[in-house]
Symmetry: D5
Subunit: 143 residues, 10 copies
Amino acid sequence: MLRSIPPILSPDLLWTLRAMGHGDDIVIADANFPATSMGARCHRLDGITATDVLSAILTVLPLDSFVPDPAIVMQVVGDPDVVPPVVAAFQTIVNTTADTPVKLASLERFDFYDRAKSAFAVVQTGESRLYGNIILKKGVIGA
Amino acid sequence: MLRSIPPILSPDLLWTLRAMGHGDDIVIADANFPATSMGARCHRLDGITATDVLSAILTVLPLDSFVPDPAIVMQVVGDPDVVPPVVAAFQTIVNTTADTPVKLASLERFDFYDRAKSAFAVVQTGESRLYGNIILKKGVIGA
Amino acid sequence: MLRSIPPILSPDLLWTLRAMGHGDDIVIADANFPATSMGARCHRLDGITATDVLSAILTVLPLDSFVPDPAIVMQVVGDPDVVPPVVAAFQTIVNTTADTPVKLASLERFDFYDRAKSAFAVVQTGESRLYGNIILKKGVIGA
Amino acid sequence: MLRSIPPILSPDLLWTLRAMGHGDDIVIADANFPATSMGARCHRLDGITATDVLSAILTVLPLDSFVPDPAIVMQVVGDPDVVPPVVAAFQTIVNTTADTPVKLASLERFDFYDRAKSAFAVVQTGESRLYGNIILKKGVIGA
Amino acid sequence: MLRSIPPILSPDLLWTLRAMGHGDDIVIADANFPATSMGARCHRLDGITATDVLSAILTVLPLDSFVPDPAIVMQVVGDPDVVPPVVAAFQTIVNTTADTPVKLASLERFDFYDRAKSAFAVVQTGESRLYGNIILKKGVIGA
Amino acid sequence: MLRSIPPILSPDLLWTLRAMGHGDDIVIADANFPATSMGARCHRLDGITATDVLSAILTVLPLDSFVPDPAIVMQVVGDPDVVPPVVAAFQTIVNTTADTPVKLASLERFDFYDRAKSAFAVVQTGESRLYGNIILKKGVIGA
Amino acid sequence: MLRSIPPILSPDLLWTLRAMGHGDDIVIADANFPATSMGARCHRLDGITATDVLSAILTVLPLDSFVPDPAIVMQVVGDPDVVPPVVAAFQTIVNTTADTPVKLASLERFDFYDRAKSAFAVVQTGESRLYGNIILKKGVIGA
Amino acid sequence: MLRSIPPILSPDLLWTLRAMGHGDDIVIADANFPATSMGARCHRLDGITATDVLSAILTVLPLDSFVPDPAIVMQVVGDPDVVPPVVAAFQTIVNTTADTPVKLASLERFDFYDRAKSAFAVVQTGESRLYGNIILKKGVIGA
Amino acid sequence: MLRSIPPILSPDLLWTLRAMGHGDDIVIADANFPATSMGARCHRLDGITATDVLSAILTVLPLDSFVPDPAIVMQVVGDPDVVPPVVAAFQTIVNTTADTPVKLASLERFDFYDRAKSAFAVVQTGESRLYGNIILKKGVIGA
Amino acid sequence: MLRSIPPILSPDLLWTLRAMGHGDDIVIADANFPATSMGARCHRLDGITATDVLSAILTVLPLDSFVPDPAIVMQVVGDPDVVPPVVAAFQTIVNTTADTPVKLASLERFDFYDRAKSAFAVVQTGESRLYGNIILKKGVIGA
């Protein structure tokens, strides 16, 4: 454990967050997400909710202000406009924790997978609520 | 996720529990334990308590009945007879969950490290209670 | 060996089943199937029938309910409508063991190979009955 | 599958049997044996009995005639003279299948482990009968 | 060395023959063939003729009866209809040793290379006779 | 770059600091130190002073309070009692930045090397001042 | 440290500069640049400015005189003609240090990324000034 | 060193020359050539002229007689018909040392790079004369 | 194949012979020798006699003249003074082919194994004559 | 090639010289030296004399002034006091090129090997003069 760094951030996850640069994506995925087959680096945080992971990551990761949608969730299959409870919770955390709060955008399930395949890394959590997935694009920290 | 298998057991940890044989040791370690430098396989379960991990592991792992002490904790430095709260919780879980309940034995801190260095694997949890470490020796399952 | 987990499930196969996510495919293949050249992870269970492997896997793996055909067999070359004995046995096992029983779909031999090449893993069994091959798509486990 | 070679002999096991030379040991181990932690190459044949594996291996492997005890089993802990049923079955197979039938020798459990640690390979079977372990020393084939 | 298995079949080559499945190709190549640059697994048998290797392989490998041409040689550059002595010798061995004797088919030099690049493996022999190359497609062994 | 984490801490160094446990050592070394040949993980921070690195590390790393000397420098060869300027600067930083300020202990040059060889990692800085080396022992963070 | 070689040039960076040939590109990137995801070799020089790194590299690296634009910077997003202070500093260094001084060319942000993806290596510096990125093409040294 | 083999041929280069087959290319490159970024195997012979390397290689390597141009040099940029001194020296060596002397062909600089990218290997010499690059295609050795 | 180099010398074996230096040992072993378990590099030449391999190696390898016994064979178990036919053939080849002919020395079987374990490499041949093993120590080639 | 760095210093050798620290040894070895079996990193400079390599290395490497003998050669076997011509040439180069000229010390052949086994690296040159071996200990560069 380290001083002032959330203990949920494992050594591998800290490495990834620090090595990512402007415009790189990271996926926080629920327990059912096919994270290993995405091809990207896969960090596991079994047993932890996606909302706890999002809170921890946003304390250190800046969001990208060069694009309109730096945070994207997965649409419910067959009902793209519904907002599942876990997604509502994501929005609350982004509003309160992100350096630059934004409204969450969304992608259809297989479009979300395609985007995830080119991400820098996927964090597989133990989130048991369905649709507990979110993609974050890293921003810059100025001089 | 799989049917009937505790979701805390990650792919790597399941591999280890299944590959271990009679007499192999596994260490469940707290967040301050020097797990990486033990040399053994190190599986991380950041953010989860050692007691939750112990419960999950004992649902699948048989304890060794060929030895008197198949479950061993670390003694408090300078006060070897005290029973820290997390150790008391370990004892309760072993009593209720293990296939063969036993009284926990204990080892001095550096003797515990030496034993851990020859273990099959160490599971580093997010346990924040000090002395949240326990070694389990795997038993056999008969015909 | 572990408590309550079918001993046919080897360490590597358990790892794979646990790491797979929603929509990932696994192939159970007979002894003549070109499993190594598919490119996917290949786990061998020489000497065991494909039906025994199917039974063991379905005790832990949920089938995908988002698609109409989560279980697919290979058509007999030159006679696509015949149902070989091993396939009939597959259907019986799916009916009795799967979380969501379904009617097996089928693919022409080389279409089956193409599908297998993008699978998460192939399990090569010792099945000596011809056409003893089946693809399963993993489902989700709800909150 | 290959013509005239027992299908139980997997690609990795065939490699090992062919690569072994005069005096190299191979261990056939039961399902509870700590095979992975022996350090040697570990080949798994989950779900197959040790007796079936012994029969298959002896059809291709010559036993060493330079030493008095080329085949060794593990003694029952606390009762070294008893002959468990699986060991009796081993003796029958050696008598009928080996190129040079011999009486099985035996070693105490931890001496057996020490010998196994310097073996060329360990084959972990699905043998559920306790003490289903045997070490074979490879012999020569003359001009 | 092993009982009843031709000693020319090295550990790596045995592994390959056993791991190949229905429809996988293996190339037996002469000493001048660009085996390493084909990309496939390359097993070397320097100093041995391609005809000796063909004989040894056909004692264990079934030919594919699902295709008309499971055995293919390379055409002489500029004279595709001539039958070089080593090819005539290949035909004699196939006639006498294969489980299902067939007439050898042939491919133009660069078509032969393209086919070899997708093979399971190439065996580079010490064959000094030009055009001493043949591709074999593995068949099935029934129940 | 990350919010609130000193940018000098590279991805690999953050990984190491987070993966270290109670009692693990890390060495901050000057530009002339034989870091690569110590055998431990070697992280390079060429061009940065050892004092800047010490400040950054102590903002996140707790010092071990179980031992009397959690911070150790190298003695000047031939003059063990002298305090080089860079060591004086180290003491000031420890006094102001460490969670538990301590007086620096010291070791003879080759004893320092022996201690470094069993460290978790060495950070090679660009420090050009001679004797700019210090070993830190990680402490615990309580519940 | 070595005689007459700038100490900022780390072992890995020296290897890269020496191994590069005529026409190979190297990218000097600021602290926000997505260097790891470019795919090229990534050398880190955390904590050092891009201008210091440029000066050190140009003391040993010849610029390519076969192309008109051997040194290229990234255009400001939305304002391609502005010259940020760090780019002005780059131009001064090139004028005074390069073997063949040239006027810096520029590329749009994503064109710059595409060019960086085919570079020989990327050096990630600790440069905190935005747009502190430059690509250099290596030239030849005559007989 | 070995009897009768030119000592310039290093272990890795000998391996490559022996493993190459009919039609495989090898590039002998000057000190400025971008050998590492070609992707092929790269063997370095720093400090030796390309002409010395050509002489050594041709004592063991047969040239391909199936193609009209088994030896190809790089054209001078902007003056494709000029013959640089090092190329003239190459022609003399081919005339006197090759098993089948041929007139050197030539390729434009970037066509030469494309051809080199599909070569079996590149040998980077210390040749300081510009345009000291040549591609050789290996031939066959008959029975 | 290469001009003037015996085709039995495979790419890996040529690499080894060229990389060996003064005083390094190479073992030529028969088909029953436990070559893989010696730990050294193992090159296979299945199907070729040890005498053919010895002849080919001695055409390029100088024997060490700094020691009295640069060539050593294995004594027959139980009859150390007998000279098996293959050893007599070895002596003839050394007499006629080595740069410095010597009388073969001999070692007891397990002493021979110990010597082989520290060799640079072992060449496993297809030699079927028992005791077809010989160790050669490489010499120097003067200016 | 790089500006102002001797072209004999290859990428790997430059890496090594830069990564070495105070007290690390590097061996420059002749063409007969058993460099590969020393265990250390082995860099080859086939075809170049040891004296040329020594000159190039000493232009960048400082010698250790903390020990009396930072440069050591190998004694002639059987005549330890003779000074071979290549050693005399080494002394001249050290006198003229080293930052701190010293008289060469010497070690008996096998003591020299033992010292070389713990070196940071060995550079195998093409030096054909016998006894063309020298060990250099790296020194420090002050502030």
